[in-house]
Amino acid sequence: MTKNRIPLGPFHPLLEEAEYFELQIEGETVVDLDMEIGWMHRGHEYISEQKNFTQSIYLVERICGICSTSHPIACVRAIEDIDNLEIPIRAKYIRSLVGELERIHSHLLWLGLAGHFIGYDTVWMWAWKYRETVLEMMEIISGNRNHYGMMRVGGVGKDVKPKDIPDLLDKLDMIDEKMEMIAKVANDDPVLKARLKGVGVLSHEQAINYCATGPTSRASGVPGDVRRDDPHDAYGMLDFDVITAENGDVYDKLVVRVLEILESSKIIRQCLDKLSEVEGPILNNVEEISPGEGIGRYEAPRGEVFHYIRSDGSNRPVRHKVRAPSYVNIPTYEASCKGISVSDALITLASVDPCYCCTERSLKIRSDSEEKPDLLELSKQKTERIRREYNGN
């Protein structure tokens, strides 16, 4: 049979980032796959080496807008690892709290997009609606929806105020309730099972051989989780389970992520409990960084984030290496895409169906907005109101 080539990208309909895939197909079966990346290359490592340690933390936040606290945690841990610095106990709980909130929002984001990719737009709208609640919690804690700017070398930059905690718990209750509903949907829905079971299987051996991390490997039965294996921050003092599944197909990845959301919410509850008891400083003063090398890692929503920093005693890193989890997870496509049909390959690659067919509503708007408060003003007022209500000033 003749081989055909399907080029995909770099601008697909829908998929956020630009990547180029080339599928080799025989009939409808994918026999080979090639990828080209580099469309997003901005040279972070080089820029970071021109900046000082404090600036680097804000820079690594902008590696990825979704993991925008995982990279800073890994980065500050790498700097702290050079001198084996300890951070205050309250800061430990705040770090874990912010990290877990981010995990919930990232998994919900993926869940919604995955639902959209298989034509299940209800899941998309639901998941993203509840995700807004998480972003609001973030706004209460850090003052921003994304790019929180919480991490510092030696602790965290902002404290969680005790009077915010009841509101945070209320919002968490709501998320828990909805997540149990979504977990039930994932367990019971015959359509989801029929569509996703046995699609894009990554076997246990392949997951080990490709060094995959995060939910990608845990769905294949490799129980690696940095939070448990290399306990740092508050994770050594918290009680949580590492979720694994056995089959390694798309359905198992979905189940692992949904169950991880529930685990994260368990961790957040414990953190908030402790934060209302534990008192003390949140930031140790770090005068200088001695020469040496340090490795910091953190279990981001997608897997292990790895930062390596070498210092020569000055205020700048001489080498800063960053490895994001997707970097090791993307090459597993080679294993999981071979031998499946083209339509399944698109889900496995999570690039997809451009159907946005729910625009039935339209509204006439005029340009006489001078008389009404404009939206930006309303947004500022909203932030002010949230601040007032939750901080009481």
């Binding site: 051989n209 490709y210 060094c211 294996d229 490795i295 890692r297 390596y308 290496k321 090791v328 090459p331």
Partner: protein, 147 residues
């Protein structure tokens, strides 16, 4: 007996310049022993290759491989020093660890390090780059600068 001691006993002839910290173990090896050590770490001990870092020093290039022993949270970091900066060449570990494929392609892209027996030695991030780079990316920033 900890994993590090066990490892050190087995390979005490080939490793040098050890640095041991809490949970981190750096040591120097030569290119000839790279594959033996990678095979032992990956297959016998069940480590996972996190990544490899290339660094340019004044008179040499070095690659640090970061093997993570997930059961104990211990990092094993063998460091390979390459004296020949103009034509750097190292043995590839892709035949042992499949996950090293992109990691080694990136090192080739950034530092120009060639990996022997690598199945697919192309650039990674600067593949088909319009600037028609003929040198490793990090050596000369000027070649990118159009201004």
């Amino acid at each position: 007996m900890s994993k590090v001691d066990e490892f050190r006993d087995k390979f005490k002839d080939v490793i040098s310049q050890e640095i041991e910290k809490k949970g981190r173990y750096y040591f120097n090896i030569t290119n000839e022993n790279l594959r033996t050590i990678a095979r032992y770490l990956f297959e016998e001990m069940g480590c996972r290759l996190s990544t490899a870092t290339g660094t340019e020093m004044e008179d040499h290039l070095q690659i640090i491989y970061h093997f993570s022993h997930d059961k104990t949270g211990q990092y094993f970091c063998p460091r390979v020093v390459i004296k020949d900066k103009d034509n750097p060449q190292v043995d590839s570990i892709v035949p042992i660890v499949m996950g090293a494929k992109w990691i080694e392609r990136e090192l080739f892209d950034f530092w120009g390090i060639k990996f022997k027996d690598h199945p697919d030695m192309r650039r990674l991030l600067a593949l088909n780059h319009p600037a028609k780079l003929d040198k490793p990316m990090r050596y000369k920033e000027e070649q990118y600068d159009q201004e």
